[in-house]
Symmetry: D4
Subunit: 251 residues, 8 copies
């Protein structure tokens, strides 16, 4: 909005030629005005419930505990990811009703009455070493209100275990597939279901897995349509995205 237009509009207001409501509407569409409360008043997210999230690495136990208390003063839910033992202890001291998910390395708080879980998110993982990442995805999707069903340890080298789960996978609105090593599982799952597949490469593997790079490249090059990829070991990102997709549209 250029200054001349602005000045003109204000003069119309002063002259009584333009109603204040009308001027407010015009000025409201200034983008930044929106920016301040954008995320808060959005319907979809509100409907399914949504937690504040704290990524723990790089924070001292004291900081982590203080942030937890602060958030809970204004929110009924809290999710803390990648919590170290020290952080777990510090938060437990300050927030007695915090729940610790050891395998997922997550802390959660859910207070007050909660809407029942909605929709259906499937979380699939290839090997037992992929569990921490898969569980981080599960905890994240659940605290965002999604109903989650898990199919763990169904890697492609033993295909029958996966085929046993196909019926269950087909009911999901979003499927998170967690795999390390060659990262082939999302391609196979993507060929069996037609819900969106969110692939999570893990750093599980050795030698030429290069910390998850092999799985990451494999997933990006998936021959199955409907597959997209998040960062290596990013269970939180996958669970968050799955919950977004799963949430009922508000139209």
């Amino acid at each position: 909005m250029e200054e001349s237009r602005l000045r003109e509009l204000l003069e119309e207001v002063r002259a009584g030629d333009r109603a204040i409501d009308d001027a407010v509407a015009a000025l409201r569409s200034l983008p930044h005005t929106d920016l301040g409360f954008a995320k808060v008043d959005h319907h979809r997210r509100l409907r399914c419930g949504f937690a504040e999230v704290v990524y723990c690495p790089g924070k001292t136990p004291e900081d982590a505990a203080r942030i937890a208390v602060e958030i809970l003063s204004g929110s009924d839910t809290l999710l803390m990811t990648r919590a170290t033992t020290e952080i777990v202890t510090a938060v437990q001291d300050s927030v007695p009703d915090v729940e610790y998910h050891e395998r997922a390395r997550c802390l959660t708080v859910r207070r007050g009455e909660r809407a029942p879980p909605c929709g259906s998110v499937a979380i699939v993982s290839a090997g037992t070493s992929d569990l921490p990442v898969a569980e981080e995805a599960r905890i994240t999707a659940e605290i965002m209100g999604a109903a989650v069903e898990t199919s763990y340890d169904v890697g492609v080298a033993g295909l029958h275990r996966l085929l046993d789960r196909v019926e269950s996978l087909r009911g999901a609105r979003a499927v998170v597939v967690v795999a390390g090593m060659e990262g082939a599982l999302p391609s196979v799952v993507g060929g069996l279901v037609d819900a969106p597949v969110i692939a999570v490469p893990t750093s599980v593997g050795y030698g030429a897995s290069f910390g998850g790079l092999a799985a990451l490249l494999g997933m990006l090059n998936s021959c199955a349509a409907g597959v997209s990829v998040v960062n290596i070991d990013n269970g939180f990102g996958a669970g968050y995205l799955a919950a977004l997709i799963n949430a009922p549209a508000d139209d």
Copy 2:
């Protein structure tokens, strides 16, 4: 093969209406028949419409045209991606009602009556060089039944152009963001909307863009939640995934 069909077949056997040899033959093909039907009879996909897709590279013009004719004998819609000039000509000769989308390098056919586009997919691109990929995403999402709104040329170096489009982006059920160079746009968009963001790195750039690697890594490391990534230049994959997310759930 659905359970009802299986039960029916067994009853025919019991009743002596079907020879055992015949039943064996029918059952032998069971696993793949089951799999083969999977995608066809699934409700969600049917509801919004869905096209057969041909990826052209590596096919001769004659092959491409023959495949097009073959598919259209059993389908009302067809999408061919990455079509070369030679393929376009060959297909146009065989399929007079084919539509050519030059910028997107796609060919489409839509016959019969079509349901009105449903939902809302936003497609955002950073620079003019990203247009072919963005258009491929648009054509793909549209032929799968999605209503699409585009916001092109809104790269982060001129932020106001993007901010002007925020209102429009916020209404979408899925947002495809196409960007080359540093690939920063999905992060910025991801912070402004809360629909799922599908990031498409493009090979646009020079020097240390390394054919899109810089954009790809940037997008995988996005600091915004709700962002996932498809392969470099994979507009089709992004459009397909967006249409899947956009399609109304069938529960």
Copy 3:
């Protein structure tokens, strides 16, 4: 600015309790209002002169020519980089007073009276193959108003050629150093001068130069302080940045 504050302000305007000038000032500081003309009204840039820039790759000759004409309808200067022979011809047809810099692959237009070049930018290059990139930097810096002095073909394997130029380099406010192969020159120059050094790796080299990656990494790891790096072959970026540094501060 929240709506209540906005409404209040408008009511003060209507009531005559707040001068329009005052209201304009308040509303002006809404970030986005600025965004629209941010770059245009800024003092430093205006003082030294500044050209619109067109990056040619990916544009058709016709598009390029049309854009050139369009820009020149509102600007006295124009810079087009990476122009192909076809684009050069097309632009020359539409803009008779365009100047073609063959080695730099640039087209420029300068109309009207120009302020004399200000400050001092030095452009240094290692080998003759680095010349196109160095020249692109020179043309860019000059059209942005900088006085430029060049020292070409002074690679580190013949150190005396560089040492002969030291006196000249020491007078510069910014030094652009263009080099391929091992990219050692910016480190050596950085140790001889104390102006900011902008290093430009070039894709000159073979074998393990990997398209300029060797030079890029060398420059990023420079042992000399005061060195920063732009993208491979990005002469424009370096010239632009040098001109920014060179421009007199406006305080």
Copy 4:
């Protein structure tokens, strides 16, 4: 030089039938003579038949044709890989009974009576674009005497096509699996059969496939045991190795 020849020579020396100078000359060439014979008199290879191989790239058509003629003066079989159109024509002019395998880009000659193919090698490929590499493997294995069965276009995104072929794969002594993109197929096949699996990554794919690197890494990190990998697009190497494994041991 075999021990019997050596003993004979020494006896000639002792008997005075051979001058010492002459014996010295014969013995001087000993090491390489020994090595030279090595491959020729080995039983396993001889039993199944074995062709001389020419890798065409980098050879002129004339050179290629001359080499072909030369080899055939001492051998009943010949395999030429990666033959260009020019080389095909030149060899066909010189060797009228040469057979050209267009898709595999190979030329073969088989003269005289041949033993019937022995054993069983399976060659599996993921997509139609992988065919040239798969066919190169087939031609190679066959000319080395193996009976080959192919299963093409059975990529993991349509699992039922692969499952249909399982019975056939299970009979093989060695399985060559050719795949591009994410390279997941060898892992899935490796979980279904227990013959050795030779994985061949292809350069098929785009974007972050990086010329076959994604498939290569995927295969090296296969979660299935019994899988080893050859170079990208190296159909010849895989076919050769499969034929070696397939050949009956000579003990």
Copy 5:
């Protein structure tokens, strides 16, 4: 499920001896039942003996010990790879007759009468630092029933040591070659023998060996035919594959 079983089941249905519900249940589980039997009833593997394998990393000592006990309740043999000291102790407590191979970091159990080792696998290593990987290959091949002969410390920089072993290598049905640094040994061995060569790159080396990447690339690019490659440090994979190749075909 084999055809005979299927036919029998259908006849029971026709005869009224089996309720339809029961038949449906049996047929529903068809695909994976089929898959489940695959590995167990296969002849080749059974003939030479075969052990269950546990990959220890990521398992707690307690888990590892419990898994060991569980497997041994149904199997006479067990192989545990990459065992840490803690795991070794825990397993030794629970399984008194476990054997610990320190250099190979493996645990094995062999109970009951065992068939004599069959065939011949050669394991070759370049330097003393490659021994742990070579020994892991040896232990694996041996517990799968192969007769193994080792040639350690025969790197290419001292060629005579390798040439001394040629005679021995030529008798093998499969040769595992373990090498770090430049990974040249498989190429040299591949030129001396005509058995299949399984190359194992190790992470031995420093500087630009990049954790075994140099050896890996070297082996993939071997100029000798008949060489394939497994993952870096993957002695288990190589030994497993060598034992598969070594096992007599069952036709």
Copy 6:
């Protein structure tokens, strides 16, 4: 200077035809003569103040302390970067007036009267984990005499926080932008200001951030002009360069 010229000059001196002052001036311009005190007598640097810098890694605490004392015997200012706890203690013992900046891991000494800070450098960082690098840049720029204003925690995923700071950023002569993960911030800042932007990638991130490589590539490929890049985590280099740019030119 060639020998003949040198000899001639000396003869003029001997003959009294050339004053010694004049000869000294001629000989002074021998490059290397300059080299010795080049950096010391340069005007621009002197005007704003400048500290000796010690990069601590690889130094023992004793060495570090001894070097600190030595430098302070001839300088009023000192900057030590990347100081470990041990080094901090050792230096504090020897230099009681040393100041320790914990977050920046820097030690500084400023003695005597100091000129007031000049110009204006802005330091912007994306996330809280980027703070150590941003603080290292701040300390460096300040001890070199620059007035610094910081805008921390203004990452692109929450754009309004950055937009709130635009006014402040626009006043700066140089802007340092510190960011990890996808490294998008410098592009966005570069589009909002027209001062030179020095981008500092940090190693903050996980998975495919590859120790800061993703951010580095993103910044090098910035779509905004006026951006250059220093090494990963190199806060010192960025602060140093910003201070150079900020220092008033001496012409």
Copy 7:
């Protein structure tokens, strides 16, 4: 040399206390004085003969021809590397006695009487595709005065061919080893001779050779001592270095 010392010296000259010859000697040792003619008057190089070298890529045929003529006006020898057909023609037109080495892509001129070749350089190559690089090394070493003996096509997969050449290699003062693919040859040669080995990786290979990277890494990680490496395909660099090593020391 500090100013005070300089002034003192000049005063001694004026006073006649120091002979001009003596002063010249003192001033001569100012480094830069040397720099101008450093390479020309050095003994070792002069003794064996030495040619000016022109690297052709990036030069127009006219430029190349003009440079050739210019150099030959002051030199009896000339070497031009990587000459294209166009450059060859242009130079032949201007320099009738130029010699063209087609395989090596080099042009040479040798005029006047030449000293007989001295010392002994061996040049070894692995495959026929490595010949252009090997020949470039040979031409370079020869024009610098070295006696060269070549051993081509002696790759490690056929070891006996190399062993046949050992005697010849052992007489060399420097051995250049040229190899692509896995780059194993320098390690094997390095174990057989004790002259310095200069390894030249070539871009020969396919798939995971990555343009010579595999060979380069292999050579850098050579397990044989006495091996150093030059850039991929850099036959000139290797030949030049071999000639330097081969030249008799002048003490």
Copy 8:
């Protein structure tokens, strides 16, 4: 086996003084015996003195000490590189006259009378952090008989320090240049001297130095002729090679 020995043996056979069985046995071992002698009886190496070398990493202290004692039973000199504190102690216990070079992390033993150092090797390093590698090179070259002169801490950012050393460098027969970060020093030295330059990249640096990769690539792409490169941090390799070049030829 030299020809004279061979002739003698044959004459014994002819004379009946040696049984044929015995001669066969002697001749069978011919190739490797020949190889075994190779390094021992070679003149050049013997003339300058040469030590056995032990690379310590991966060896237990006991092993290291036992190997040291064993070697010294047959050799007057010993070099052990990369010795840990534990190994140093263990060897000192077993070999009282061992000398420990702390910075170089080397152990040496020199017994008996030694020839005076011959020739001249220069060792140059860029920064203080490069010292351990430079010292390893020095110790290695010295124990192999070379006279060594060092120029440490002469990095390119302070060019005058290097220029001060030029005279000294020019006298050397081989120059080892050790540098980390951007690795520019060998290029600059290569332009100043004409002895062979052996470049040693070090892993010194941070961020985008990628463990020495930046320096390695820089050195491989050196614009100066006469430069070759050894592995990252491979001081031993460089010192060894320099000593080989330095040793007087034996013709």
